[in-house]
Symmetry: C2
Subunit: 171 residues, 2 copies
DNA sequence: AAAAACTTTCAGAATATTTTGAAAATTCAA
DNA sequence: TTGAATTTTCAAAATATTCTGAAAGTTTTT
């Protein structure tokens, strides 16, 4: 890409972040607000975000709440200000961990639960039922494994250690 | 959940798989066809899938192709049959790896590329631009790390080794 | 207590995604 | 070849998701 001015690059960042997000099952506007706050050196209020991204108040409000649920932004009450201000977590490692954590909770958790339910509902008293349970059990095992792996990665704040482990594995 | 008959359990499995899939940004019908084939002891053709899930031919055709792109099902040409038959990969570890691989490719790849583009477009000749590049660089680092981690996990066919590593980490 | 400042809600509108099904294209047997 | 069987395409319809903006709710100031 050719040389860009800062404003242009920031817009591209916000736009790109929004587009990629839809590919990961995240709402585009939520991602754009997140990107905007990530790039903003100071906290912003709803009106500023509305003006910046040209979106409605309701939309901003809803997505700010979602972003807080995801643990990606914080509410900041400034002295002497009635309005609420929002600031993004700037430590990208924390951001990544937060996203991974949330996705683990939303994507793997329900899968494990659903498989447990199925296991409990079926008595393996025929060949067919055994076949079925075999698959359910396998999925159960794999999802518990994925869950554990995620948890481990998230717990390891010593990234260098993990990093080294990974490098060895790559050889 | 109370005791279920096999048919009921299979339907629940297919339904659940479809619902969960939408939460991970995957098309519901694609997931249902996948679930149906996972549970089917024999390969199925388009007409059978249409009848089973009550969906149109076009829909079945499109999603079968997507499932093949994901590497989750295979086309099977049976001798003496004009119709194409499809069979799912039954090894759940392979399925999980395939899904992880595909998501890595679709979700992390474009992110890395986008950040590289931004880095190239900006000259760090002002304080502001340096700030911006710092964030882009951080995201770049984190996504390359995530990419490597995924790759390592995928390469390790010796699951026991990884499993042990993970257990140690959990202590 | 009233009013002003601000946030939240939610029904309807706008947009995006998925699905249908008939027509076009392809494959294969005769 | 021809034509029957099968697969693929794609425009329009159905469905699902997201967004708007005005009204309702809340908090703070006077």
């Amino acid at each position: 890409m050719a040389l860009m001015e800062l404003k242009e690059a920031k817009d591209k960042f916000i736009h790109t972040w929004g587009t990629l997000a839809t590919q990961w099952g995240i709402n585009r506007t939520m991602a754009q607000i997140h990107a905007l706050l990530l790039l903003s050196p100071r906290s912003m209020n709803a009106d500023e975000i509305m003006a910046d991204l040209q979106i409605s108040r309701g939309n901003v409000n809803m997505n700010l709440r979602d972003l807080m649920d995801w643990g990606l932004i914080y509410k900041q009450l400034l002295p002497g200000e009635r309005k609420e201000f929002f600031i993004a977590e700037k430590d990208i490692w924390k951001v990544a961990k937060q996203i991974a954590k949330e996705r683990r909770r939303r994507e793997i958790g329900p899968l494990i639960e659903a498989m447990e339910d199925l296991k409990e509902g079926i008595q393996p008293d025929t060949e067919e039922k055994e076949e079925f349970l075999k698959i359910v059990n396998e999925i159960s095992k794999v999802s518990v494994f994925a869950d554990n792996t995620m948890t481990s990665l998230l717990k390891s704040d010593e990234n260098w250690l993990l990093n080294n482990f990974i490098k060895v594995f790559n050889k």
